[in-house]
């Protein structure tokens, strides 16, 4: 039982060093996509939401678990789409022509 917590602690320490190493070498240019990208990565919380809801037994647990799944899913898809859009602009080979950039990303009928 407690062994699992110790294992998780070891993993956490290694993950902390990895996170530190990754960001300490990132140019300022990528800070926004990186913040957005790390926002997407903690969207892994959706997995926890699925577990919480999947093993919920009472109605209250189901409702709260459902809220967790909705919010987690929004974190994942929103975080991914925002990051992808930002990074698409750094892609030299597929840069849209000036003036075409804005309409290309917002579908018709979207918010003005």
């Amino acid at each position: 039982m407690a062994a699992d917590l110790w294992t998780a602690l070891f993993i956490a320490i290694l993950a902390a060093f990895t996170g530190y190493e990754v960001i300490s070498r990132v140019p300022v240019l990528l800070h926004t996509p990186l913040m957005s990208g790390s926002n997407f990565i903690h969207g892994i919380v959706l997995v926890g939401g699925i577990v919480a809801l999947g093993f919920a037994t009472t109605d209250l647990e189901r409702i709260v678990g459902f809220v967790a799944v909705v919010m987690g899913a929004m974190n994942v898809t929103g975080g991914y789409a925002v990051t992808e859009r930002i990074l698409a602009m750094f892609d030299r080979s597929k840069r849209p022509a000036p003036g075409a950039a804005a309409p290309a990303v917002s579908p018709p009928g979207g918010k003005p």
Partner: protein
């Protein structure tokens, strides 16, 4: 030996984690960044699908409906939002993650209040709940649905501390004395604390705030993961520990780097109520001298080097395309054009780079503060478009609220032209000494209109 199904689930998780880390690695270089987010996305998809297919799960319909609603809304929003509104989008999606972490902790606490894991859930709930309510306030401020200036309530340090203390008290009482009914009060006070914590922070500091809440959400997710590793699906817990702590560490470092770019400590950002106080007895005197667009055009046309210092005002006026046109025209006339990007120009670190890249301006022409600051004495014309606090020489003066903040030394150039809508102050609410300098002229007007006039004048000349 566990059964085969479980072994397959374990193996798939390991693969997902490997792809995850490779993706993160790729995201740290501009050339491979796009591949990186794709890798991370694939890893995420694998982790979610394998969790959904794990043995023992029920409430399938609820899960599918929840993923469809949240996923659809998040994706739609992210696609239609304008690039200038990206910071508040990151804030709100981050808040959703924090809320999800708090909700998961709540389910864990409702299931069982016993054992060490209950306290881990309490910790996850604390951080997650503060992250969602704080992020929502940050979103409202950036979106302009709430005044962006610092809102300072009387005796806030005492009140805030008391609210947090009560929240923690309720949480510990609920777990230690097995009183689940106190969980509602626990969460309520945490949410209030998140609001109180964020209200006194001015809009100019929001990038640091969003970054910190991003890191906090990561930590909350990691803590939830700890609570789940002993549960029915321990792998999901380990995945959350890895991803959450990764974000917690990376996000904390990013927060410190950003605060440092403004010469402030993270503690000062959160507890200093910066931007709420006015500097009394300002040293600024003299008058602002306006200039006509045609004169600016001539000045730039005969310059050897023009440096453009853009700020958020340019983005608000959607003037990026006009600025790109201006730069192209000047270059066609043999003028060297560079862009000076302050680390906190815009509303997030690197935000200005994104906005200029969107307009098609090559990132070879974008220079960091450190790269370009020594060049200003040799620059003929600096065009400041919609930037204010980041070019305010008051930062070099003792006693100024901006004291010590690293700025772009545009005032050292031969000529400075400031494109500005009116005579208002910057986001930090502080008078700008630059505007009164001898070498500075004001070109009044909306950034898009003003730069448009410059382009028209250059085309004629």
């Amino acid at each position: 030996m566990t059964n085969l199904g479980q072994t397959i689930v374990d193996a798939v998780y390991v693969v997902a984690i490997i792809v995850f880390v490779l993706g993160l690695k790729a995201m740290s270089s501009p050339a491979t960044a796009r591949r990186g987010i794709l890798y991370a996305g694939v890893a995420m998809l694998i982790a979610v699908v394998v969790t959904f297919l794990s043995p023992g799960l029920s409430n399938f319909l609820w899960i599918v409906v929840g993923v469809a609603i949240g996923g659809g809304a998040g994706y739609y929003w992210a696609r239609v939002v304008k690039m200038t509104a990206m910071p508040q989008m990151v804030a709100i999606f981050n808040g959703m993650g924090g809320g999800a972490a708090a909700a998961i902790a709540a389910v864990e606490l409702l299931t069982s209040l016993r054992g060490a894991t209950a306290y881990l859930s309490v910790a996850g709930a604390v951080i997650g709940a503060i992250s969602i309510s704080g992020s929502v306030i940050a979103f409202l401020k950036l979106q302009g649905w709430m005044p962006s200036k610092a809102i300072v309530l009387p005796a806030r340090q005492v009140v805030n501390f008391a609210v947090l203390a009560f929240a923690l008290g309720f949480g510990v009482y609920a777990v230690g004395w097995l009183h689940p009914e106190f969980l509602a009060l626990f969460f309520l006070f945490l949410v209030v604390y998140g609001v109180l914590l964020t209200l006194p922070i001015g809009g100019a500091d929001m990038p640091v705030v969003i970054s910190l809440f991003n890191a906090l959400t990561g930590i909350a997710v990691g803590l939830d993961g700890f609570a789940l590793v002993n549960g029915p699906l321990g792998d999901a817990g380990y995945a959350m520990v890895i991803a959450g702590v990764l974000v917690g560490a990376a996000g904390s470092l990013l927060t410190i780097l950003m605060a440092r770019a403004m010469n402030r400590s993270v503690g000062n950002v959160f507890f200093g109520a910066f931007g709420a106080t006015e500097e009394t007895g300002g040293v600024t005197h003299g008058s602002l001298r306006p200039i006509a667009a045609s004169d600016v055009a001539v000045m730039m046309e005969y310059a050897g080097e023009v440096v453009i210092a853009p700020g958020y005002g340019m983005a608000v006026a959607q003037a990026q395309q006009k600025v790109k046109e201006l730069a192209d025209l000047l270059e066609a006339k043999g003028v060297t054009v560079k862009f000076a990007i302050h680390p906190v120009a815009g509303r997030m670190p690197g935000h200005m780079n994104v906005l200029l890249a969107e307009a098609g301006i090559s990132y070879d022409k974008l220079f960091d503060r450190d790269e370009i600051n020594n060049e200003f004495p040799a620059v003929d014309v600096v065009l400041v478009i919609g930037a204010n606090d980041v070019v305010n020489p008051a930062a070099r003066r003792k006693g100024s609220p901006l004291e010590g903040m690293p700025i772009l030394d545009v005032d050292k150039a031969h000529n400075v032209i400031v494109v500005k809508r009116g005579q208002g102050k910057g986001f930090a609410g502080i008078e700008n000494d630059l505007f009164y300098a001898d070498n500075c002229r004001m070109l009044y007007g909306d950034a898009q209109a003003a730069v448009g006039q410059l382009v028209a004048a250059l085309k004629q000349g």
